[in-house]
Symmetry: C2
Subunit: 207 residues, 2 copies
């Protein structure tokens, strides 16, 4: 997009070396242990080179972990409940990876004081997963599994927040069965009122 101007271009090799060094330190000792100086040394790169590309430690780590958070393709088995469960389980697994689980919360907290980076963080991490889940919920509305008056943003929070909360704050275990129960409760919470069981499922046409 930006046509390259004059001058020597940035060396992608050094950039990648810095990001890789940051990832290694993150994996070994966590976010607090990451320093510009430490990353530069491990990457075999001058400190000033790091500062040229990233103004703060937060910006560097944000770039470093972005790729760790790519979520696989959205499941589309045709079974709405299974797809929803699969989506949340996918988020859970991504967050449970030791690096991400320890880094993301710390990064979020650290970036919260920088409005620009905080917005960047949300755009890269929260938004993509959020969209996937909200899309699923919107389909749930169409399929009759979710009431029309439900705040889907709130439901998305309810599905994801407990997982993050346990990983970052309480340290309570996050298991597949916990996620299963969580999704089960939410499905029940948003379901149309009395409704003879299976009615919505009958209306649904697989494929």
């Amino acid at each position: 997009m930006t046509t390259r101007g004059p001058g020597r271009p940035r060396d992608a090799t050094r950039r990648e070396a810095a990001l890789q060094a940051a990832r290694e330190i993150l994996a070994e000792d966590g976010y607090a242990a990451v320093t510009i100086a430490g990353v530069a040394e491990r990457a075999g790169v001058a400190r000033t080179t790091i500062y040229r590309s990233w103004p703060t430690k937060g910006a560097l780590v944000l770039d470093a972990v972005t790729e760790l958070m790519d979520l696989g393709p959205a499941a589309k088995s045709g079974d709405w409940h299974a797809d929803l469960l699969a989506a949340i389980e996918g988020s859970m697994r991504a967050l449970s990876r030791s690096v991400a689980g320890r880094t993301i919360p710390a990064l979020a907290v650290d970036l919260s004081r920088d409005p620009v980076l905080a917005e960047e963080f949300r755009t890269r991490f929260a938004q993509p997963r959020k969209r996937e889940v909200v899309n699923l919920l919107e389909r749930g509305v169409e399929l009759g599994f979710v009431r029309h008056d439900v705040d889907l943003d709130l439901v998305e929070d309810i599905l994801v927040a407990p997982i993050v909360h346990r990983l970052a704050v309480t340290g309570a275990p996050v298991t597949e069965s916990m996620v299963h129960d969580l999704v089960g409760l939410v499905v029940k919470a948003v379901a149309p009122d009395p409704l003879r069981p299976g009615a919505a499922a009958d209306t649904f046409q697989p494929g």
Copy 2:
């Protein structure tokens, strides 16, 4: 409890001055801005005196904010749903206070690498509120508002985590109506199955 031994006793005045200074810095610039050196200077106390009482910044801040998190007496209006809503709204308001809302998540993340302090943190903050809510949920089971097979710990997470998550991570607004909707969804999720509407309420005797 520990009978005072020989030697000059600690000066409670200086201790309180340090905690107060820490609170002020927290309120002004947040957790990241707190340093032992800065607290000592503002408190008018020697740096070594701080180190004598608190080994790390985290331990100091933990003590400093403990009193900020006292939750009022548990509501007992007799209306179970109202009491549950009041409890969650109470947590919400406590966390929304600017100091606590910004400090607690940062503290939780920072302390997560120190097992001893992390446990201390949970005991002081998470546990008391958790017990209050879980107690309410247990009464809900007795009253027929909550199914017997529901994991109450999980429900408690679902009630609290979205609030913390919005405050700390996404920055999304946390309003009374959001809390109202949240509690409403959870109540529906845990309610006994088909249930002619109002049955449990009919059984319930106010007072």
